[in-house]
C-alpha cells in the first residue's frame, strides 16, 4: 500500500516534470524540470529495487550530463519566444503524433505484459542479492559484445569531437608548463652585489639590467 502511494506520487511528479520540460517558457526551467524528471525516474526504479541503475541515472545524467546541458543553455541565452512561434500552428499535428505514439506503447504493453507490475514494487529479494553484482555479471558475459562496442562508440565520439573542435589557431601564446616548471633560479634572478639603495653605487653599472642601465 505504502509502495503504491509512493509509486503514484512519483509518477505524478514525473509526468508534471516531463510536461514542465516542454511547456516552460524559460529553457533553464525546462532543463531543471528534466533534472526533476530524472530524479523521480530514479525513485521509481528504486521502488522496483534496481538501485544500481537508479543511482547511476542520477550520477551520470543529473550529475554530469545535465550540468553541461545547463551550462550550454545558460550560456546561449536562447530566445525562446521565437522558437515557440509555430507552437500553436503545429499543435494539432503534434497532438495526433503524440496520441499515436502513446496508443502504440499502450498496445505493446497490452499485448505483452513484461512481467513487472511497477505499482506494487518488486517481490522481496534474498538478502544476499546484489543488484550491482547481477548487472555486472550479465554485462560482462552475455552482453559483453554490445558493451564493448558501446565503449568503441564513445571512443569514436571523443575522436570526432576533438577532430572537429581542436585546431591550431595562429596568434595563441599558451604556456608550456613543463618549461615553466623547469626554470631554475639562475635563469630569472641574479644576485646583485654592492648596490646601495639608490642604485648609484660602484656595482650599479656593471650588474644592472639593460633597462636599468639605460635609466642610469
Amino acid at each position: 500500500m505504502f509502495v503504491q502511494i509512493l509509486f503514484y506520487a512519483f509518477s505524478a511528479i514525473l509526468l508534471a516534470a516531463a510536461l514542465g520540460v516542454i511547456a516552460s517558457r524559460n529553457p533553464v526551467h525546462s532543463a531543471l524540470s528534466l533534472v526533476l524528471a530524472f530524479f523521480t525516474s530514479a525513485a521509481l526504479w528504486l521502488l522496483i529495487e534496481v538501485e544500481f541503475l537508479a543511482i547511476v541515472l542520477v550520477l551520470v545524467y543529473v550529475g554530469a550530463v545535465m550540468v553541461l546541458f545547463l551550462f550550454v543553455v545558460m550560456m546561449l541565452d536562447v530566445n525562446i519566444e521565437r522558437v515557440r512561434g509555430g507552437f500553436i500552428r503545429h499543435a494539432g499535428l503534434g497532438l495526433v503524433v503524440a496520441s499515436l505514439v502513446a496508443a502504440q506503447m499502450i498496445g505493446v504493453f497490452w499485448a505483452r505484459n513484461l512481467g513487472v507490475d511497477a505499482t506494487l514494487g518488486a517481490p522481496p529479494l534474498p538478502d544476499d542479492y546484489s543488484n550491482t553484482r547481477a548487472l555486472g555479471e550479465v554485462l560482462y558475459t552475455q552482453y559483453v559484445y554490445p558493451f564493448e562496442l558501446a565503449a568503441v562508440l564513445l571512443l569514436v565520439a571523443i575522436v570526432a569531437a576533438i577532430t572537429l573542435t581542436l585546431r591550431q589557431r595562429p596568434g595563441l601564446k599558451p604556456q608550456d608548463v613543463a618549461k615553466q616548471v623547469a626554470v631554475r633560479r639562475e635563469d630569472r634572478v641574479r644576485l646583485v652585489t654592492g648596490v646601495d639603495a639608490a642604485g648609484t653605487g660602484p656595482g650599479a653599472d656593471r650588474d644592472a639590467s639593460p633597462r636599468g642601465g639605460e635609466g642610469a
Binding site: V28, L32, F52, V62, A64, L70, F71
Partner: protein, 352 residues
C-alpha cells in the same frame, strides 16, 4: 542505563533511524561551527596571528570558543536581500539544494563497526552521485542572481566540478577494484590487518588524486575560482546575505568534513585502528572505533586549512589542465596497475 538501552532497542526501526539521522545531522552542524573556528585559529597560527579570542571562554581556557555562535546569531539577524532582477524562486531554493546533498551523503557513512544509518550495497555510488548533485545549488545561485560576477562563478564551478568528478570517480574505481565491493562498510573491512593493508599505500596515486579532486569538488582554495573574491567579488554567492549566505557556508564546510571522512574511509581504513596487529589484540588502542575515524577525519580537515593558508589560487585554465591532463591520466594508469596487483594477489590481496 540498561533500561534506557532496552527502551531504545524496543523502539520501531523508523523511530531509531530518524533519531540517528537527527543525531548525525546535529553533530555535523556543530562540527561545521567549530570547524570555522578551528580554521581561523589554524590559519592565524600559520600567519603568526592569534585568531579569534574575544568571544567567551571556558574558565579562562580556550578563548574565543563561542565565536561560531556569535557569527551564527549575527547572520541570522541580518536581512536577506533579494535582488530585484533575480529569479526569486530559484534564488531562494539554491542554498537548500547545495546543503541537502552534503547532509544526505552521511546516510551511508560507516561511523563505527556497527553503526551506519543505511547499509546499502551501492553506497559508494550513492555518495558519488550526491556530491555531484551539490553543484546544482551553485549553478542555480549564480544564474538566478542575474549578475555577471555570480554567473561567471557558476560557470567556472560547473566546468570544474564536472572535470574533477571524472578524476574522483576513476580514483574510486581503483578503491572498488581493491575492495571488491561498493558498500562503504565492506570497503573499510577490506582494509583490516594493520596500516600496511590500508589502501593509501597500495593506491597512493589514487589517494593523492582523490584528495586533490576532493578539494576541487568542495570549491576550496586553491580551487576556489567559483568564489574568487579578488576577481569576481564572491562569485556565485555575491548577492546572498544573512542566513542564505550562511547556508552556502554551512554546505561548504559540511562538504569538507564529508570529503575528509570519505578519504579516511576509502584510503585510511575508516574506523580501523592503526595499531591493529602491532599491539596485542586485547589492547584498548588496537580496538576499532569511531574515535579513529574522527582522528583521521580531523587530520584531513586540518589539511584543507593548511592548503588554504599555503597555496595561491589556481587560474581557471590551470585548473582545467591539471584535471584533464594530469589527474585523469594518472588514475587511468594506476587503475591498470591496481588491476594487475589484484589479479596477481600482490600486497594485501595475497590473503584471499
Amino acid at each position: 542505563m540498561t533500561a534506557i538501552l532496552d527502551l531504545w532497542a524496543a523502539l520501531p526501526d523508523v523511530v531509531r533511524s530518524t533519531a540517528w539521522i537527527l543525531i548525525v545531522t546535529v553533530a555535523v552542524i556543530l562540527s561545521v561551527a567549530f570547524t570555522t573556528l578551528w580554521e581561523r585559529k589554524v590559519i592565524g597560527w600559520m600567519q603568526l596571528r592569534k585568531g579569534p579570542n574575544r568571544v567567551g571562554s571556558i574558565f579562562g581556557l580556550l578563548p574565543g570558543i563561542f565565536q561560531p555562535f556569535a557569527d551564527v546569531i549575527k547572520l541570522l539577524l541580518k536581512e536577506v536581500v533579494l535582488p530585484s532582477a533575480a529569479n526569486k524562486w530559484l534564488f531562494r531554493v539554491a542554498p537548500a539544494i547545495t546543503l541537502i546533498p552534503a547532509f544526505a551523503a552521511w546516510a551511508v557513512m560507516p561511523l563505527d563497526p556497527a553503526l551506519v544509518i543505511a547499509d546499502i550495497d551501492a553506497g559508494l555510488l550513492y555518495v558519488l552521485s550526491l556530491t555531484s548533485v551539490g553543484v546544482y545549488g551553485i549553478i542555480l545561485a549564480g544564474w538566478a542572481t542575474n549578475s555577471k560576477y555570480a554567473f561567471l562563478g557558476a560557470m567556472r564551478s560547473a566546468a570544474q566540478i564536472v572535470a574533477y568528478e571524472i578524476a574522483m570517480g576513476f580514483a574510486l574505481v581503483g578503491v572498488v577494484m581493491a575492495a571488491g565491493t561498493l558498500n562503504l562498510g565492506d570497503i573499510v573491512r577490506a582494509q583490516e590487518g594493520g596500516v600496511s593493508s590500508w589502501f593509501f599505500l597500495w593506491l597512493f596515486p589514487l589517494f593523492v588524486v582523490y584528495l586533490i579532486a576532493g578539494v576541487a569538488e568542495t570549491n576550496r582554495a586553491p580551487f576556489d575560482v567559483a568564489e574568487g573574491e579578488s576577481e569576481i567579488v564572491a562569485g556565485f554567492h555575491v548577492e546572498y546575505s544573512g542566513i542564505a549566505f550562511a547556508l552556502f557556508f554551512l554546505a561548504e564546510y559540511a562538504n569538507m568534513i564529508l570529503i575528509s571522512a570519505l578519504t579516511a574511509v576509502f584510503f585510511l581504513g575508516g574506523w580501523l585502528s592503526p595499531f591493529e596487529g602491532v599491539l596485542a589484540a586485547d589492547n584498548a588502542l588496537a580496538q576499532p572505533g569511531f574515535h579513529w575515524l574522527f582522528l583521521k577525519l580531523f587530520f584531513f580537515l586540518t589539511c584543507f586549512m593548511w592548503y588554504r593558508a599555503t597555496f595561491p589560487r589556481y587560474r581557471y585554465d590551470q585548473i582545467m589542465r591539471l584535471g584533464w591532463k594530469v589527474l585523469i591520466p594518472v588514475t587511468l594508469v594506476w587503475i591498470a596497475v591496481a588491476a594487475v596487483m589484484v589479479h596477481f594477489r600482490v600486497g594485501p590481496w595475497s590473503a584471499n
